[in-house]
């Protein structure tokens, strides 16, 4: 078992444990914190997969911005206490079971897929900002421009919805 695999296992374990923490913790703030942990673990995977730029963006956007936003909203609403009314238990179990069933189904389906392996030893520079930037502004310029429309509408929307 190489070092990569050990790192993979550790990171994965952290990610899954944190993810479970998100859905199981009663206190929403704990959930957020678990979420952040999970994201950090995922960011670790990004490094391992030579996606350096994404690692940075991920940390900044998700952990830095989005999760903070969530936390902020939670704080603003004063929801830090365990005030969430419990779902009826059977629905909770049903949710867990059906999610698990979906997991099983997908795993069963994808178990047999024959795919090229990942060479963890070989490092590529594809994930560097210069490479990505070049592609982004050449062949991906159309979606890039279009995402501005998306942002505009999200902005307008947030304003329309948000203002009193």
């Amino acid at each position: 078992m190489g070092i990569e695999q050990i790192i993979f296992i550790v990171l994965s374990a952290i990610a899954i444990a944190a993810a479970l923490g998100v859905i199981l913790s009663k206190n929403p703030v704990n959930s957020v914190l678990c979420m952040i942990t999970c994201f950090v673990a995922i960011a670790g995977h990004y490094i391992m997969l030579n996606a350096q730029f994404l690692f940075v963006v991920h940390l900044i956007v998700y952990t830095g911005a989005i999760m903070v936003l969530f936390l902020f909203v939670l704080m603003m609403m004063n929801l830090n206490a365990e005030i969430e009314p419990q779902k009826r238990n059977w629905l909770k179990y049903a949710g867990a079971i059906s999610g698990g069933a979906l997991l099983l189904v997908l795993v069963a389906a994808l178990r047999e897929a024959s795919l090229p392996a990942i060479q963890t030893s070989s490092a590529s520079d594809i994930g560097l900002i210069s490479n990505l930037g070049k592609t982004l502004f050449t062949s991906y310029v159309v979606p890039f421009e279009l995402s501005s429309v998306l942002f505009l509408s999200a902005m307008v929307g947030a304003v329309v919805i948000g203002k009193k």
Binding site: K87, L91, A94, G95, S98, G99, A101, L102, V105, L106, A108, A109
Partner: protein, 632 residues
């Protein structure tokens, strides 16, 4: 002259149209002239045709007017066939018809002018239909007339349409006729599928090829005979005829005695080849004819309505005619049709005269001694009774004797039964005569005051018919008399095709004399018995019991039919409507609609408003679809 044969039915049709359409504008006398005149003119033409047909060497001629139905290989022309049989019937129909028309001008005089015109229109329409029936050159033409006469009978029975019971009688007549017609129609279809034609000449030439005793032939013969049973009031379809007496009396005379009811005989005589080749059916005809003759005669014994007696007598006589047909004595049957037309029309008209005089009273128990006031009616009625009873010298004697002779040839038991029927005939006719015309008057004073002999328009036809009733028989003198049997010779071309297949029943002359003497003697004895019983008849007022009650109630046949056919039909219909239609099919159809609505009410509950549940359902759906697509 023969090519003008279309005029014969056309003239009454014209009369019908004029009287029918102009019934509001024509005066009664004009109506009467048009009505009677058209039939009289037709009679004259018929007479001319008859003389032409009588010429030796005459061959049947078909006058085709136009194509009625023409489909593929099936051609049904609108054509008239003139031959000995149709010419004879033409004479009977137009002759008796004219007399009855003339009679009616007086008899119906109390009707409003519109009703009067309507009456004559119907009557003319009837004559038209009847002429089509006998003139038609194929079975479809015959069927047209067949249904046409049924319609006219319906219209005339219900002539006084305000009376609901008359209407019911009319309905009954029509529906019973239709039952027969159904058989006739099926017979025609069978003919079409078998021979590809319904034209007499073609059918009759193709029939022998099927061979004697062929099943198809049996079927055709039987089906046609069912038609005849309906129209000619044979068991089991006879009950309409007595009820049909609801119509005006001349109508009873014309339609329900002289002409329409003999259509069945005409048809069987016309199709003689078919019947001769289907001996099994002939036996059935004999049984039914004889049964009808006896049953009706027995009922007539106890009837008190003057017209009902005559009606049952008609049914009974028709039974005799079928008996003759069944034994293969076609000529005898036609002969009896002719003589019966004379004396039965006479009797009916006579009874009409009586009813007229009695102011509408029909119950013979309320009459009596009428000969004092109505000499002409009395005499003519008596002649009619003698004729129908079969007193030697009168027409009925000759025709009935011929029938009895052929019955003897066929089967001795049949003969005996037929003879018993003849005796019953004599008995009830003279019972009727004596109760009505002799003794003392039993009606009200008012009626007595009103009694009078009928006017000339009524008595004239009576006299003519009385004469015919006497002499009408001499066209068919029995062989033993040595004189030629004119009618037999005249009609022989018609029955020639079946002659080879008929078993010969040559009677010994001595045997014939014996039979004739036996029947005459017995009849005369019976008449005297009736005379002793009824000449001084007084209504006892005691209700009949036992067999007499059964007879008075006509063997309860109407009640039987009601219980066996009408009631079950109603129950069935009710079952169809209530159970199958409403709670079955319609409920099912509506149930589908209700089911959709019910389903809708249930399905919409899934949409419970909780987004958590929605997502859950989506996930479940995904899992199911995944499993289906990946692992199935």
């Amino acid at each position: 002259m023969i090519h003008l044969v279309w005029l014969v039915p056309f003239l009454p049709l014209l009369g019908f149209l004029i009287n029918g359409l102009g019934r509001r504008y024509l005066s009664k006398s004009l109506t009467g002239v048009i009505g009677s005149g058209s039939v009289l003119a037709a009679f004259v033409i018929s007479l001319l045709i008859f003389f032409e047909v009588r010429q030796p060497g005459f061959t049947p001629q078909v006058v085709s007017l136009f194509d009625f139905i023409s489909v593929g290989s099936l051609h049904i022309p609108f054509a008239f066939q003139v031959d000995q049989l149709s010419a004879l019937f033409l004479l009977i129909i137009t002759g008796v018809g004219s007399l009855i028309h003339i009679y009616s001008t007086s008899y119906m005089h109390e009707e409003s002018s519109e009703g009067f015109a309507r009456y004559f229109a119907y009557l003319n329409l009837f004559v038209f239909s009847m002429l089509i029936l006998v003139l038609g050159a194929n079975y479809v033409m015959m069927f047209i007339g067949w249904e046409g006469v049924g319609l006219c009978s319906y219209l005339l029975i219900g002539f006084w349409f305000r009376n609901t019971s008359y209407n019911k009688a009319a309905n009954k007549a029509f529906i019973m006729n239709r039952i027969g017609d159904l058989g006739f129609l099926l017979g025609i279809f069978l003919m079409i599928s078998q021979f590809g034609s319904v034209t007499f000449s073609e059918v009759f030439t193709k029939v022998p090829s099927l061979g004697e005793g062929s099943g198809i032939l049996f079927a055709i013969a039987l089906l046609l005979f069912i038609g005849a049973m309906g129209k000619s009031a044979q068991i089991p379809l006879y009950t309409w005829l007595p009820d049909a007496m609801a119509g005006p009396t001349p109508v009873s005379a014309l339609i329900h005695a002289a002409t329409m009811v003999t259509a069945g005989i005409y048809m069987v005589a016309r199709s003689n080849v078919i019947y001769t080749l289907a001996p099994c059916i002939q036996t059935i005809i004999v049984v039914i004819g004889l049964g009808t003759a006896l049953l009706a005669a027995s009922i007539a014994l106890k009837q008190n309505d003057i017209k009902k007696v005559l009606a049952y007598s008609t049914v009974s006589q028709l039974g005799y005619m079928f008996l003759a047909l069944g034994t293969g004595a076609y000529t005898a049957a036609v002969f009896h049709v002719m003589t019966h037309a004379f004396f039965k029309a006479l009797l009916f008209l006579g009874s009409g005269s009586v009813i007229h005089a009695m102011g509408g009273e029909q119950d013979i128990r309320k009459m009596g001694g009428l000969k004092k006031w109505m000499p002409v009616t009395n005499i003519t009625f008596l002649i009619g009774c003698l004729a129908i009873a079969g007193i030697p010298g009168f027409s009925g004697f000759f025709s009935k004797d011929e029938i009895l002779a052929s019955a003897w040839g066929f089967n001795k038991i049949v003969y005996i039964l037929a003879l018993i029927g003849a005796l019953m005939t004599a008995f009830y006719m003279f019972r009727l005569y004596y109760i009505t015309f002799t003794g003392t008057f039993r009606g009200t004073h008012e009626q007595e005051h009103h009694l009078h002999e009928s006017p000339a328009a009524i008595t004239f036809p009576l006299i003519i018919l009385a004469i015919l009733s006497v002499i009408g028989g001499y066209v068919g003198l029995p062989e033993v008399f040595g004189a030629p049997h004119l009618l037999h010779e005249y009609l022989s071309p018609i029955f020639a095709p079946s002659a080879p297949y008929l078993p010969a029943h040559e009677l010994e002359h001595s045997m014939e004399w014996i039979l004739m003497g036996l029947s005459s003697g017995l009849v005369i004895i019976t008449i005297f018995f009736a005379r002793s019983k009824f000449i001084r008849y007084q209504d006892s007022g005691v209700p009949n019991t036992g067999i007499a009650k059964v007879l008075e109630n006509k063997w309860y046949v109407d009640e039987l039919y009601d219980a066996v056919i009408v009631k079950p039909l109603m129950v069935l219909s009710r079952f169809f409507e209530d159970t199958i239609e409403r709670s079955g099919i319609d409920a099912l159809v509506n149930g589908v609609g209700r089911g959709v609505k019910w389903g809708s009410r249930q399905v919409r509950l899934v949409q419970n408003g909780q987004v958590g549940f929605y997502i859950f359902a989506m996930v479940i759906g995904m899992i199911i679809l995944f499993v289906i697509s990946l692992f199935l």
